[in-house]
């Protein structure tokens, strides 16, 4: 049984992307507990980076809400947006590349601004509005 070998399970989960990880969390209670472990999401955020971030990052990210939140709010939208590269004819194409340090820094900054903004709402809103611009818009038929 795979569930008896947690370390292998974690190895496998580390290879997944964010969407698959979230799906994996729905499989069973044990998987749910494992996936909630922030280190998996830390690996997702920074594991593939060309430069591993400094040690201080972990404590900052954890106190601002954790890697899973960082991924959901900032990393995923930033990477998705920046992956699209505009080609000359006005179309966009997806470019597969490794996420770099500068993008990581920008995500962290936005994450920090979001935390700060939430302080003003006294915990009322789950996500502050300053990151609204990162959301994908739904085109309600014009």
């Amino acid at each position: 049984m795979l569930n008896d070998h947690i370390d292998i399970l974690i190895e496998i989960l580390q290879k997944l992307d964010g969407r698959s990880l979230s799906t994996a969390a729905c499989v069973c209670k044990q998987w749910h507990a494992i996936v909630r472990n922030d280190s998996l999401w830390e690996h997702l955020c920074f594991g593939k980076m060309s430069l591993t971030p400094s040690l201080g990052v972990r404590s900052v990210v954890t106190s601002l809400g954790g890697y899973r939140r960082l991924y959901m709010l900032c990393v995923r939208p930033v990477v998705t947006r920046l992956k699209k590269r505009r080609v000359n004819n006005g179309e966009t194409e997806l470019v597969k590349r490794v996420w770099d340090k500068r993008e990581a820094e920008l995500s962290l900054s936005l994450f920090c601004v979001e935390y700060y903004e939430r302080l003003f709402s006294d915990g009322g809103e789950p996500t502050a509005k300053s990151l609204k611009f990162l959301c994908t818009t739904v085109n309600v038929g014009m």
Binding site: P53, S54, G56, V57, S59, V60, S63, L64, P77, V78, R81, L82, R86, R102, E103, E105, L106, L108, S109, L110, F111, C112, V113, Y115, Y116, E117, L119, F120, K129, S130, K132, F133, L134, C135, T136, T137, V140
Partner: protein
């Protein structure tokens, strides 16, 4: 639509033979009582009095003739006029309307083959030249070498001579929206010119007309025009409302502006990058912020300081803000929140708030500036310095104070436009172009649905600036924006030298803009060490960095 017109025509032709008033009344009686409204049209949703039917039909016919099949005005021979003499053009236009040719335009008896001739030498017979009853087709926009006037040729073959002309010509706004937009701009500019020449009667007439045109115009152009028209009206009628909006409301508006557009974010990130680079290696740092507001600029800087190699410095922030009407200590609240954040991310933090009506009331000695070996100082101002230009000597006093603080870097973000010219008309035109572009960019961001709260609030925020630029004067007029070139001259002559914003700032800004969905129109430009954010080809805000001359970096 066409079928309806034909139906009306049919009705009309059937009733034209019985245009006698008594017969018309008979027709009315024979229909079931619908309050005098035409029953058939009412079914379609049109409320037209049966007695007006002939009139309406005639107008529609003539409108249709003029518009042609594709809805475009029939252009015929054009007459050239002096394009720079806007008020002369308006004057001649108005005088023409009140001569006998008046009733030819759209509805009324006209002899066949008549051309409306805008010869400028007709004498004004009417004693009220400002009666704007009908405005015919406007000038063709675009070419700077010639502005030509459209003359409508009335095809009168179809106008039957037994049609009764209306009592007086009613205003008809033509539907070609591109031309309507052009006319809107021209009427605005003509109104401003009238104000410039102190011709308040003309200005009054024009501003009312602008209101009508603006309401009919969809999109960003209509909204901008409405704000400018409102501001002009205030200036004309000399209504200067006391700044009714509380400071806290203003801050809420600015928050919406922050969230819905990249301008403030760009300002914060580029300024922070310059400050971060200036703080390299320092163990104690002090930021003096002239534009604290909600403190949204500082979390990102604090986070970058927290994660820099070697650990964060001790971070001291002095924030300056305006007095609150309800005496709440808004500055302290901001300071408290920033302190919470600092504790969370592990940065030693100190905050002091200063309440001041004007930056000129602050001087260096109040701020407890430590010597530069102990503490590195940065001064930051985002959209604040231009307010000092309303009082003579204020900006020089503040620049001297800044020098006395011995900062390692001074970051300055300002609107990239000259709204402080001596001549009202120049200010007006500059502002019209600037805010049209701004509103355009807000509208185009895919983020905002047409009537989303953020968009509306952002527009109100900008609208207040517009009102101040157009309607206020003297010390009340605080939105005295100037261009980067003007600020450069001022800073250079006040004893500052430029610090180039590096490629890091440029790349980060570009990346930030790339994140804005639908923000394809935003452009980051580097301008001799300064960064500008613009919409398409028009720069809108500029970030620059400075240090006092003669200080080692």
């Amino acid at each position: 639509m066409k079928r309806d017109r034909e139906r009306k025509k049919d009705q009309n032709t059937s009733s034209s033979s019985s245009m006698h008033p008594t017969k018309a009344k008979e027709m009315n009686h024979s229909l079931p009582d619908s309050g005098g409204m035409d029953e058939l049209l009412e079914v379609l949703g049109y409320k037209v009095k049966s007695t007006d039917m002939a009139d309406v039909a005639q107008k529609l016919e003539q409108l249709e003739m003029v518009m042609g099949d594709d809805g475009v005005l029939q252009l015929s021979d054009t007459v050239h006029y002096n394009p720079s003499d806007l008020s002369g053009w308006v004057q001649s236009m108005l005088s023409e309307l009140n001569t006998s040719c008046n009733d030819v335009v759209l509805g009324g008896e006209c002899s066949s083959g008549n051309m409306i001739d805008f010869g400028g030498d007709k004498v004004v017979a009417n004693n009220d030249p400002y009666d704007l009853s009908v405005i015919p087709g406007g000038a063709i926009y675009g070419s700077t070498t010639e502005e030509s006037r459209v003359i409508k040729r009335m095809r009168s073959e179809d106008v039957s001579s037994d049609m009764m002309p209306p009592e007086s010509p009613r205003p008809v706004v033509l539907v070609d929206s591109q031309e309507a937009g052009i006319r809107l701009v021209h009427t605005l500019m003509a109104c401003a010119e009238a104000v410039q020449q102190d011709n308040m009667k003309l200005a009054d007439a024009l501003v009312k007309h602008v209101g009508i045109l603006a309401a009919a115009q969809a999109g960003a152009m209509g909204k901008v025009a409405t704000y400018f028209a409102g501001a002009l009206a205030q200036r004309i009628y000399k209504i200067y409302p006391k700044d009714g909006l509380e400071t806290s409301c203003w801050e809420i508006l600015q928050m919406h502006f922050y969230e819905s557009s990249p301008y403030l974010k760009f300002a914060h990130f580029t300024a922070n990058q310059a400050i971060l680079e200036a703080f390299a290696g320092a163990t104690r740092v002090h930021v003096v912020d002239f534009s604290l507001n909600q403190g949204m600029q500082w979390p990102a800087l604090m986070q970058a300081l927290a994660l820099r190699p070697g650990g964060p410095p001790t971070f001291r922030l002095t924030g300056v803000g305006p007095p609150q009407p309800d005496n709440t200590d808004a500055l302290q609240q901001v300071g408290w929140k920033l302190a919470q954040l600092a504790e969370t991310i592990g940065v030693q933090f100190e905050f002091r708030g200063f309440v001041a009506n004007s930056l000129a009331d602050i001087d260096a000695s109040m701020l407890d500036i430590k010597p530069s070996e102990v503490e590195v100082v940065a001064v930051n101002s985002v959209f604040e310095m231009h307010r000092l230009l309303a009082r003579p000597g204020a900006v020089d006093k503040v620049l001297d104070s800044i020098k006395a603080m011995k900062p390692k870097i001074v970051t300055l973000v300002e609107q990239e436009s000259n709204h402080n010219g001596a001549v009202f008309l120049d200010r007006f035109n500059e502002a019209l172009h600037y805010y049209s572009t701004m509103f355009d960019s807000l509208e185009s961001s895919a983020l905002s649905q047409p009537m989303s709260q953020d968009l509306v609030m952002s527009e109100v925020y900008l609208g207040r600036q517009i009102c101040n630029i157009v309607a206020s004067e003297g010390t009340d007029r605080v939105e005295r924006h100037e261009t980067l070139t003007q600020w450069r001259t001022r800073m250079n002559s006040s004893g500052f030298e430029p610090v180039h914003l590096g490629s890091n700032a440029f790349k980060q800004a570009s990346m930030l803009l790339a994140l804005f969905a639908g923000g394809d129109g935003y452009r980051v430009e580097e301008n001799d060490g300064c960064l500008m954010l613009g919409w398409h080809t028009r720069p809108l805000i500029a970030t620059s960095a400075w240090k006092p001359s003669g200080i080692e970096s």
